[in-house]
């Protein structure tokens, strides 16, 4: 089964989404708690000291007021951003706000009491922002906060000489500070280690879920295959067996034309069975035999005409072909013919009787980044357009899987084994090309199949091994 590339990206998106959702809900809760606590503490202090501070208008008061406002503002804006789903900045501001609050309290204490054992012990408070930093925003903020905390504790201890009173020994100050730094970094590392293992667990969960979904999908496809094979094979078997039974029981009393008719029915049923089995089993054959092949110059018109004579031998269907002159590709003539057979067959099967089917082939140049390349590689683009029922756009990718048919078509009486498009894709990609289907899913507007294959020059007789895939559609520029 083909694994779509975007599933790995989708896995990562899910992990990020889960993480972000968790962070945002934590940010709102924590934001409210901290704001309330800070507001009460701040407001309470102002209220308790109001007469003294207002009248004094000291630097202490100014600092207190200023830092307090900043603290509350940071927490407030952080909370607001959490509600607005900006987790990164919400996390930064909330952590910043709480650090500011700690700083403010410690500065006020130092002002009144100087640097003492209490302040030194309280340096350990800066471990709290570490935990917050991780849960609210992640690893980057965790390390930023650890560095900031280390610097701030140093600032508090060593940058207040004017207020330093000799109540503690330098040795004690240093060792307390160092212990705090050590604690901060040990906690940071532990949180970091837990974060890594948590992410790994999430990834494993994500890929397990994905594997489970794929297994379910495979199961569904197997079910569909069995149902489909059941139905497609049993009806012709009934006709075949029944005809033989009837002939066996009554051939002697039948007229010659009756006998003929029964033989013809039996034969047709046998052929239908054969064709159906062949299309199923041949997929395996094609997968294996198409692995080793030699590239030659293939005339697109010839392959198309050969296919048309198989699919529409009596020219009953309105198929209009506009094939540019000199349309040659590097590939295998048999492969290209099979692709035409499958796509023309689909166009005929899924369109009303008189609906037009157009086939175009044109040469396009690939744009390349190399300025020295005088002859940019070219592709032949083949477009087959019908005016049939169309395909719902979201179901188009499914059709390239083996044995998948739309539910709509399974319920109809249009025969099919679900391997046509899978085979086309297999063969196209073997030849180094790409195949796409465009459809609005609207009956009447139909479907367009677009195939691009490496173009060749008619006068390139030597065989060439196809090594590169022309899968990058973004580099393609029409050379018209």
């Amino acid at each position: 089964m083909n694994v779509p590339v975007q599933e790995n990206a989708a896995e990562q998106v899910t992990i990020n989404d889960l993480d972000t959702a968790r962070g945002l809900s934590l940010a709102t809760m924590i934001g409210w708690i901290l704001i309330l606590i800070a507001a009460i503490a701040f407001g309470g202090s102002i209220f308790a000291n109001a007469p003294i501070l207002v009248l004094a208008n000291t630097p202490v008061f100014n600092t207190f007021f200023f830092c307090g406002i900043i603290s509350l503002a940071m927490l407030g804006v952080g909370l607001r951003l959490a509600y607005a789903q900006y987790l990164t900045w919400a996390g930064r501001l909330i952590v910043g706000g709480i650090v500011c609050t700690f700083l403010l309290c410690q500065m006020l204490w130092i002002w009144d009491h100087g640097l003492d054992a209490f302040v030194l012990t309280s340096l350990a408070l800066y471990i709290i922002p570490l935990g917050l930093a991780y849960v609210l925003n992640g690893i980057a903020l965790l390390f930023l906060t650890a560095i900031l905390s280390s610097l701030l504790t140093g600032l508090l201890v060593f940058a207040y000489p004017p207020f330093l009173q000799q109540t503690v020994l330098v040795g004690e100050v240093l060792s307390s500070w160092l212990i705090t730094i050590l604690l901060i970094w040990i906690i940071a590392m532990l949180i970091f280690a837990s974060a890594i293992t948590y992410n790994r667990a999430l990834e494993k969960l994500g890929s397990l879920e994905l594997a489970f979904k794929r297994a379910q999908q495979l199961d569904d496809l197997k079910d569909q295959f069995i149902t489909h094979v059941n139905h497609e094979l049993r009806t012709p078997i009934m006709t075949l067996q029944g005809s033989i039974d009837y002939l066996h029981d009554s051939w002697q009393s039948m007229r010659a034309d009756q006998v003929q008719k029964l033989f013809a029915q039996a034969m047709r049923s046998a052929e239908r069975l054969n064709a159906h089995l062949a299309s199923i089993l041949d997929v395996r054959n094609i997968e294996q035999s198409s692995q080793s092949w030699q590239a030659t110059v293939v005339d697109v018109s010839e392959a198309f005409m050969a296919a048309r004579s198989l699919v529409d031998p009596f020219s009953e269907y309105p198929i209009v072909a506009t094939l540019a002159d000199e349309s040659f590709i590097w590939g295998d003539a048999g492969f290209l013919q099979q692709i035409f057979v499958n796509l023309l067959g689909n166009a005929i099967k899924y369109s009303p009787d008189r609906a037009l089917i157009t086939v175009k082939a044109s040469r396009l140049a690939l744009s390349t980044r190399s300025r020295t390349n005088q002859n940019p590689p070219a592709v032949i683009e083949i477009q087959i357009h019908d005016h049939g029922q169309g395909i719902p756009p979201d179901q188009i990718p499914l059709l390239f899987h083996r044995f998948v048919r739309l539910a709509r078509d399974l319920a109809s009486n249009i025969p099919g084994s679900g391997v046509g498009l899978y085979t086309c894709k297999l063969l196209t990609e073997r030849m180094g090309g790409t195949i796409n289907i465009e459809s609005a899913g609207i009956p009447g507007q139909g479907t367009t199949c677009i195939i691009r294959l490496p173009a060749a020059d008619r006068h390139q007789p030597e065989r060439r091994q196809i090594t590169r895939k022309l899968a990058d559609r973004d580099r393609l520029a029409p050379g018209r």
């Binding site: 009934m238 006709t239 029944g242 009837y246 009554s250």
Partner: protein, 154 residues
């Protein structure tokens, strides 16, 4: 006794033509055909066959929908119906019987066996058909889509 008339509703052309030719030989019936569900419904109402054999997978009106439509109309509610299908898992049998059919036959089935089933269904159901018709006439409005009382062959 006049010849029983059997209506076959089957979208596969070869199978339809084969049954048209072979069934009269094995069961002595008069056989007519319809190529899809809508045609089958029309012919059932017009001709009132003595039995119908209905294929499940048909475009447009599928076999189960046809059975429900026939059961919903008093004119056709008592016609013995045989569902013919390639699907054979338990849930498909259940769907078949729950839709109101009398009998469930799985493809491929030999013409002789199918003829025997048709004969059996027509005979055994005589009593049940009268009962069913009586119940329908007693009801104010017959409900289409519900399981009908009657002989359920397996």
């Amino acid at each position: 006794m006049s010849t029983a008339r059997v209506l076959i509703v089957e979208d596969d052309t070869d199978l339809r033509e084969f049954l048209l030719a072979a069934l009269p030989h094995y069961g002595g019936f008069q056989v007519t055909c319809a190529a899809d569900g809508i045609q089958g419904l029309i012919q059932a109402v017009e001709a009132q066959p003595d039995c119908m054999v209905i294929d499940v997978k048909m475009p447009g009106l599928d076999g189960y929908q046809l059975v429900r439509a026939l059961r919903g109309d008093p004119a056709t509610a008592t016609i013995p119906l045989i569902i013919l299908t390639a699907l054979a898992q338990d849930r498909d049998r259940f769907t078949g019987m729950a839709s109101g059919a009398d009998r469930f036959a799985q493809k491929p089935i030999r013409p002789r066996e199918l003829a025997d089933i048709i004969l059996a269904v027509m005979q055994i159901d005589e009593q049940a058909r009268h009962t069913r018709l009586q119940l329908l006439l007693d009801d104010e409005e017959p409900q289409g889509g519900e399981t009908q009382i009657g002989e359920m062959g397996v």
